[in-house]
Symmetry: C2
């Protein structure tokens, strides 16, 4: 089942000609889930041809303009496109008031229900085949980090062994794989005889804006992909501390400590041009590092 | 003196891959004056290389998202770029609350003063060498149209006649041109003897979103350029009436009735692709019509 990440905006606080403000779209089995929605995200979605119809959930990390301003235009456009399905918007405390005020001042009458949910540390949102877990990042205003976690998958089915046990291919295979025992020639076969241990689903974690955080290490444990901000290099660490951001080296440390498979750096300042300096620094801590760019797409494969 | 119009956003309510939401930048003698600031305007300014430093005044027509959302990101970016000069923001009633709420919810601490002014019908804003006059457009929420009017210029100096009268070229020429009499060989020469009538300055009018409006005809009288919305063609007039927008034909009528020199249609729906259908329709009413496109630049010349 597809799990595709599209980077719609990868700039630092100030956008550039090449980078739009923060937005990351997950396509999971066709459902679109958006993390952050910086100014201009709807147009980035048009350019990336992601469509709007299947977007049902939007998770905002915090209310600095580069992470949420595009929300209002996107909601408006979906209304003008005759959307009728509800949308769910998640974010830290304040998101309800923000959306309420926007709708009142903009005289906005949306054609579909908008459900707003304030998320705090440890909250979990259940989706169709996945969940999103929230932890609090370490920023200078309330900011959430999010983990997208696919549900566990059934264990591997040992077809050879099943055939040896006399089970005919077909519905009984399926039954065993779903965890139910079957009877064949008067003998009960238990699923664990032919099905391996359940396999964990894929996991993608997005840090939001943050100082390096033990909570994010825990949230990102064994993730297939950690998308971590890297606003600065080590020579500007003082500035990173002051503004509650991370250096590329610190992002690498977080990736190493949480034992993720892959690290992609985002929230890229124009200081770093193509990001080479950020990669070099993060690679001192963690080997599998890339830098995000607008419209970059990553397919997350099953590890086994 | 330069009077240059740069179209930064020319889309209808929903942006497209090729058109950003509404924004029009005037460069008058180096000062930048922005009319509307749709989502993504700051990035359009970066792409158009207009700079931010010399932007001192922003006029918003109304609070539909496609006309103002980009304001907050732009204000934030200018603060992060260490701006210290004040900025003045003008709009219909509600703009003060809108900006107040945005700053509170966004925990935003701007590094420069923001002066917000609510403008009503007939209000005039005086600038350096120009004024902006506001009238109320006919939209479904409070919406202003704006006329940018350059100050009158001195009349033409009749150099030949001045020399004939025995005035030596130099400071006395200047004095006469500024409207002061001079004495030469005991004889008083009055300015009206060598200087023609004062000449009117250049004038650019922006309709905002509106049904065809007599007030806008008056506001736009004899303008060098009328930028008028044209959301629809005549076959969709019912829809135009319902949503308080104009057809291209109606925009052409307004241009004809106000005797402007040139009409540029904007707020272009993706229905009209390159806008050919809109031009054909408007040309039935008025001959000098163009369609706006993002990054299109127009220099307004002195008429005489």
């Amino acid at each position: 089942m597809v799990l595709r990440i599209t980077f719609l905006g990868t700039s630092g606080t100030i956008p550039t000609v090449n980078r739009n403000p923060s937005a990351i779209l997950i396509n999971f089995k066709g459902e679109r889930i958006l993390f952050d929605c910086g100014e201009g995200t709807q147009r980035q979605m048009m350019k990336a041809k992601t469509g709007f119809r299947k977007l049902n959930r939007i998770f905002i990390t915090h209310f600095h303009t580069d992470h949420y301003l595009g929300l209002f235009g996107l909601l408006e456009t979906m209304s003008l496109q005759d959307r009728s399905e509800a949308i769910h918007i998640f974010g830290p405390e304040g998101i309800s008031e923000l959306i309420h005020v926007f709708r009142r001042l903009g005289y906005t009458n949306m054609g579909y229900p908008i459900h707003v949910h304030e998320l705090k540390e440890g909250d979990t949102v259940e989706g169709d085949g996945y969940k999103v877990i929230c932890c609090r990042a370490e920023h200078n205003i309330p900011c959430n980090a999010y983990a997208f976690i696919e549900n566990d998958r059934p264990g591997k089915f040992n077809r050879k062994k099943a055939e040896k046990l006399g089970i005919p291919p077909g519905p009984l295979f399926k039954k065993l794989q779903m965890g139910e025992p079957v009877e064949i020639n008067g003998k009960i076969i238990h699923p664990e005889e032919v099905v391996g241990n359940r396999r964990r689903g894929r996991k993608v974690v997005y840090s939001g804006d943050t100082r390096p955080s033990q909570k994010i290490v825990e949230l990102a444990k064994d993730a297939d992909l950690l998308i971590h901000e890297a606003c600065f290099t080590e020579d500007l660490k003082e500035w990173a501390v002051e503004t509650y951001h991370s250096t590329a080296k610190e992002a690498g440390e977080i990736a190493r400590r949480s034992k993720v498979k892959r690290l992609i750096l985002t929230h890229i300042s124009p200081r770093y041009d193509n990001g080479e300096a950020l990669i070099i620094e993060a690679e001192k801590e963690f080997s599998n590092v890339d830098i995000a760019s607008d419209f970059m797409t990553i397919e997350i494969q099953y590890p086994d």
